[in-house]
């Protein structure tokens, strides 16, 4: 029982990272109908920026905020400069552009920051960390907490602010939004910026646990993608839930079902099986099209 609880809670901790990444993917998808495969690498690169700031003596939370700003601007820049030019091309073209971005960020990180694993500090550890248990380290508790806080902020933003409403409108129905006076192009860019910032949060939370190195987010993006689809790619609530489910599933599959040598296989097989029976994900909307 203890072991089960352990696996479950640890799964939730990792799941919080998948949840953030999944939400970032869904945000960009809702606005542009494209999946940003480079999300993980962008997050990793932002984390390196934070790492350099902290190394230069900037206090952690200041560095955190500055990094959020950096990734926000980077996201907007990518959308305005790159994605806007290929928006009328086939989705496959966009996929290749994302792959290109992925490769660029990965390679630049290795070149600029070296590929040796670095130590990224956690703001949650230390003598004051009363909330750590043997099931969850202080940092893991902090991870889950931070993710929930961020998800709540995002939800509140989209639900209760005018800007959030405008962004949702632009994503849902760009033509009508233009008629109402919303600058759809900039709404998309904002969406990208927010998604990148979200990814940066995921990266900075995951780095103390996984070890900061250029390939840190490689495994994460796969599970984040799976989580987003599992939850329903067009459902911003489904994505984080999908993330937590995937985190727990991964652990339980490896511990109780097949053993670690087939853990990855089984976790993915299960996700695909769910999709076969529920093709738009657990919480996704089945789109009914008039033919």
């Amino acid at each position: 029982m203890q072991a089960f609880l352990h696996q479950l809670l640890s799964g939730l901790a990792m799941g919080s990272t998948y949840a953030s990444v999944a939400l970032a993917l869904v945000m960009i998808f809702k606005a542009t109908h494209q999946v940003n495969f480079a999300q993980g690498e962008l997050a990793m690169f932002s984390t390196y920026v934070a790492f350099r700031l902290v190394g230069a003596g900037v206090p952690y939370w200041a560095a955190f905020v500055i990094t959020l700003g950096f990734s926000f601007i980077a996201g907007i820049a990518i959308e305005r400069l790159l994605m806007r030019r290929i928006q009328y091309a086939s989705p496959l073209t966009a996929v290749i552009v994302f792959i290109g971005l992925l490769v660029i960020f990965n390679s630049m990180a290795g070149w600029i920051f070296s590929a040796t694993t670095q130590v990224f500090p956690s703001p949650f550890e230390g003598p004051h960390a009363w909330y750590g248990t043997i099931y969850l380290s202080p940092h893991e508790v902090g991870m889950i907490g931070m993710t929930l806080v961020v998800l709540t902020i995002v939800f509140l933003f989209f639900r209760f602010t005018r800007l959030g409403l405008a962004m949702r409108a632009a994503a849902e129905n760009p033509q009508s939004s233009r008629l109402v006076g919303i600058r759809v192009g900039w709404m998309l860019a904002l969406g990208w910026g927010l998604a990148s910032a979200l990814g940066a949060v995921a990266g900075m939370m995951a780095a103390p646990k996984l070890g900061l190195e250029p390939n840190m987010m490689g495994g994460v993006i796969l599970y984040g993608f799976a989580a987003a689809l599992l939850g329903g790619i067009d459902n911003p609530w489904g994505a984080p839930i999908g993330g937590f489910i995937v985190g727990v599933l991964e652990n339980l599959a490896g511990a109780y079902l097949v053993g670690s040598h087939l853990k990855q296989t089984l976790a993915l097989a299960l996700i695909v099986a769910v999709l076969v029976f529920k093709p738009s994900g657990l919480f996704g909307r089945t789109v009914v099209v008039r033919v």
Partner: protein, 431 residues
Amino acid sequence: MSKRNWVVVASVFTSACFGFAALTGAVLATGCEKKKPDGSSSGMAGAGDKGPAMPGITATEIKIGQTMPYSGPASAYGAIGTTEKAYFQMINDKGGINGRKITLMSLDDSYQPPKTVEQTRKLVENEGVAFVFGSVGTACNTAVQKYLNEKKVPQLFVATGADKWADPEHFPWTIGWQPSYRTEARIYARYLLKEKPAAKVCVLYQNDDLGKDYIAGLKDIFGDQYDKMVLEKASYEATDPTVDSQVMTLQAKGCDTLITAAIPKFGAQVIRKVFDTGWKPLHIMSNVAVSITAGLKPAGLDKSVGIITGGYLKDPNDPNMANDPGIKDYRAFMKQYEASLPGIDPGDTNALYAYGVSMTLVNVLTKCGNDLSRENIMKQAASLSKFVVPVAIQGTELTTSATDFRVFSQLQLSRFNGTNFEPFGDVLSAD
């Protein structure tokens, strides 16, 4: 013309330029190849190489090549290639080897064997290197082992600990350097049998040759006892984000001894998770995992106390080693060539490894004198006689012979005390 037409014209023009450039490049490259000293530049008659007697060697240059994973999941090992390049730069600055400068061509293979085959062929056939030195990766080196042996190109001091490299009978042109993982595991197994025969062992291993060799080494020594002693083993893939689940599974089994055969990134995760769960096993870790910079620091030095490993190189972070001449020279080198070693610090075992193996190579090449033919280079590599690498643990002498290609066969067990690894016991031999 309308905008669309401009786009089309621009596109056609650009691709025409690309096409022309590519064609020119290809033609030039083809043209150049025919002048390479290596005999296989002609596509006609599949006859054997008729190149000069010392391929890759001129009066002023020794040209060698290697493949390194500068990208992909194993990119942390790229530091080895970078350090080796800096080392050879140092040798060249001091005048070279018997008056010849040594040029290392280090190509990226992303740890993918088909790419290794391609890059190695490029090095041998296109660039005409004298030999291949210190490529990383078991699968990668295996992919080109047959080819290099058939072409009689030395495959020197491969940077992998798989057990198979010491096979002069079948592969006389291939030789390893570091003690094999299997040897290391055998030493751990012997240690356990001696000090803790009732140990309940769990093994966490990387699901590739690294891990599998460890399991094999344990089986070698435990023999029939293996099933009784090893309660559970758990593996992970290099593409897994985290190994926490595996650690928890092993802990739940109730083991009191944990053997971790992993790379530093995952080694750090294991240390941290073991500490966080309050599990206090006797923790033995593979020497590739315990790099202080890459493995222990990310985990937390305080969490790593008590870890045992079997090393073959000195620990540069050991305060007792501060005045050791070998380590001092190493640190001086790392300091002097800092600009060529971005992001690599002296505590990184990859750098220390690269230093040691490069030194061994320089010794081999120096002994060759003016006969730098491939045959002689291989012969010298196979006749190391009590060569001492100053950064190897005290008392280690490297010896090879025509029948014994094991370069390193000794290890020293040591325990981490919070700052450095403290050796204990005698230097142990694999056999």
